[in-house]
Symmetry: C2
């Protein structure tokens, strides 16, 4: 069995397990109490805070532990926005932030705040210029991830932090995917992270607020964690989080080289092994362990099941695997193919053999799914002078499969209209055109769904 | 060493430890994922939810796990208030709720909501009539603890739930102190609890929202825990919480009898062993393991240190032990003595010998503290026809000590004025009068602090 979904949750690092078990005996009491058990708990908490601060590169009194990375993001954004309420209520985020950031932005907008979403390029990276252009006199806060959780692309955080600093706007960095690999460079103001992403236990997030950053914690607070994270501290888990962060950092330089070689191998060989694949994300400026690709004419959920049966646990940004039927907002923002999407995120220590076996298994798994889906009879009729494919009521990847089947019947220069009410078609038909060198003319709303118009150019 | 502060945090139950360790291997993955590790995590989470729901006496789909009891209270109150926004924004709480409830009420009030605090009697219990009287047509929510965390007094939850139900107002019960002992009876609507209070791990709270209760989760949410608790689930801790709840419940009936006998012993013998002690809280309607008393002329912090040196870990609601210099809001609301306050809360399994040794050690510890504080020269002068004691700048318990020293010099029927700028004096001087059978005349504001006027009647 091979677990290739470290970007969702990394397996518990052995150091985390040891530290957790050891501190269950010493760290269960209330660290606010003055008696022996309380003092011991306080000492463990203080030591964990110092270790985590050292790893982040901040002062211990700038760092609080929250109950999750999501809580750190939510509290950090709410507190930073409230702290600068007098300056304004404009918030900047990128279009490819983690959903926790986008949810916080939605709440801000619903409460009357303004939000600018900065677009990304096809590799998933924001432009520094675009962040600079988004800054306004009433900008209270800007947010940017250190690296993308779905495609691994690293963001130009230090450069964006510099333009924000110049404008006097604090930058909150969501470092959830990268903190285990190293410090976030640059002059950022706030930082959020999540222990279970680096091999620590669930239930621990980190929120750093640099001295001098205006911050007003929102909602009910108490005396815990400098008034920034209410509720009894989970000290055994905090100790385990800090110990494992230190441990993964000690191994990071060597492991980064090793995993990068493995993901490079996947990047290079998947397109050679599997036809009609698009590897997405920046090939160079990326996290060591993540590689993402999309397979045309494949239903992501079925492919994940096939791979699971073969012993591989991966995730997908395809709409087909979620309950919402909306494809990943990241792939959508990048404008890349979302159907048959697979994210491989290797945990530290992944053996080379597992990757080799994955590369052996993948082509058959994709071919199998394509075969299952492969022979729907397209209901194509010629109406006036264009071919119409009626894919209404059919879910991804069927609309694209039907388009591919009829394109050969369309005279060069003529158009085909694909009728579809599947949300993913909006993303996948243009992506197919780009991959196939055909022209995507546009979308025309229909009574039900839309007509996607494609011109055959070759 | 004896740990007598289970009401702050109970030591980890052996079953919790076993379940936590076992589920570290099985429960670390994302339960939202479809692959093997995710499915295993989901199964553990589902089983834990069923076990917890069975213990609470609710449906599994009414119960979500939060990151702490505080989070459960904060989210529960905010969600219930928002769900009934159209009915009104009036909130009812008792004066002796846990600070997490009162903090949520403060935030509600700061946001323009109305809050009624229902008073308690000298035993710390609310009256059902008082809750009924507080209900208004615009009441959105009422909150009541199942039992008080500082003095152990049980509240008439079922009766209050009935009057709320009659008025169509949901009742949120903070069951943090009692859930390990048994289900909360009555027709309540929402319930919050905290695992580390019953011997589960830190980092797990429980929020129950009965079907049919209008509820609108506030702040950014995600797809986790029915949209009521954002952030990656801490499944190993959740499993340990549910398993230990079941385990403590299995032992509850026998252990309740045993601990009640031990706390009865403390209630009966402390006043006989230590002069000038007031045992507070309801003698009968109370939790099995909690007993609280206050010692006149004693500084709570010093007494806690003495007891800690003797190997006893207890807590105190005296102002002297907190950083705020404000005495416990619970003792204040009950109108009982706060100085030299000691809360003994026995964890399950406390050996009888530990309680006996505590009763041996306590008289000497109190006497030692009194001796250290015993000889301040009261700066008493006769002004006009009354005695004035100038205790300005002196902290509790000095103002009461000085009052006690001069009362013998006051003719029966005459008054003494104690000048004090210590917040605790407002509570402790009337309490001393009640204990000593003297008449508390009232408080007169001064330039600095107040004059507390006492008439000698015996």
């Amino acid at each position: 069995m091979a677990y290739f979904d470290a970007a969702s949750a990394a397996p518990l690092h052995p150091v985390a397990r040891q530290a957790l078990q050891a501190s269950l005996d010493e760290g269960w009491a209330d660290p606010a109490r003055l008696y022996r058990e309380g003092r011991r708990a306080r000492m463990l908490l203080d030591a964990a805070r110092e270790a985590a601060a050292e790893a982040v590169g901040c002062r211990p009194d700038e760092l609080v532990f929250t109950s999750s990375g999501t809580q750190a993001v939510h509290s950090g954004i709410a507190g930073a926005l409230a702290g600068r309420r007098r300056i304004g209520s404009h918030l900047i985020v990128s279009t490819v932030e983690h959903s926790s950031v986008l949810h916080a932005a939605d709440v801000h907008e619903a409460g009357g705040g303004a939000v600018t979403q900065v677009a990304v390029d096809r590799a998933g990276a924001v432009g520094v210029r675009a962040y600079a252009d988004a800054l306004r006199p009433d900008t209270a806060l800007a947010c940017l991830q250190s690296a993308n959780h779905e495609v691994g692309t690293e963001q130009p955080v230090a450069e964006v932090a510099a333009v924000c600093r110049e404008a006097g706007v604090p930058l909150l960095v969501d470092a959830a995917q990268s903190l285990g690999w190293g410090r976030v460079e640059g002059d950022w103001s706030l930082l959020a992270a999540s222990a279970h992403k680096w091999g620590g236990p669930a239930g621990v997030g980190v929120l750093v607020v640099r001295k001098g950053v205006r911050f007003a914690a929102q909602g009910p607070v108490d005396e815990r964690e400098s008034g920034r994270a209410a509720g009894f501290e989970n000290i055994p888990a905090i100790v385990a989080a800090a110990a494992s962060l230190r441990a993964v950092r000690a191994e990071a330089a060597v492991e980064a080289v090793r995993l990068r070689e493995l993901t490079d191998r996947i990047r290079a060989r998947v397109p050679a092994l599997v036809p009609d694949v698009e590897v997405v994300g920046d090939p160079a400026r990326r996290l060591p362990g993540i590689v993402t690709f999309s397979c045309l004419y494949v239903d992501g959920e079925t492919l994940l099941h096939e791979l699971d049966r073969e012993g591989f646990s991966v995730s997908s940004g395809s709409s087909c695997t979620s309950s919402t039927l909306t494809p990943s907002h990241v792939l959508k923002a990048m404008g890349v193919l979302s159907e048959g999407n697979v994210r491989v995120s290797l945990p530290a220590g992944t053996p080379e053999e597992d990757v080799e076996r994955f590369l052996e298994v993948l082509p058959g798994a994709v071919a199998g799914v394509r075969e299952k889906l492969g022979a729907p009879v397209p209901s194509a009729v010629v109406r006036e002078d264009v071919l119409v494919v009626d894919a209404l009521g059919k879910r991804c990847p069927i609309p694209v499969i039907e388009l591919a089947k009829v394109i050969g019947d369309v005279p060069v220069g003529a158009t085909v209209r694909v009728l579809s009410d599947d949300e993913a078609a909006r993303l996948d038909i243009p992506a197919w055109c780009e991959m196939r060198g055909q022209e995507y003319v546009g979308e025309e709303p229909q009574g039900r769904g839309s007509a996607y118009v494609v011109r055959r150019v070759s």
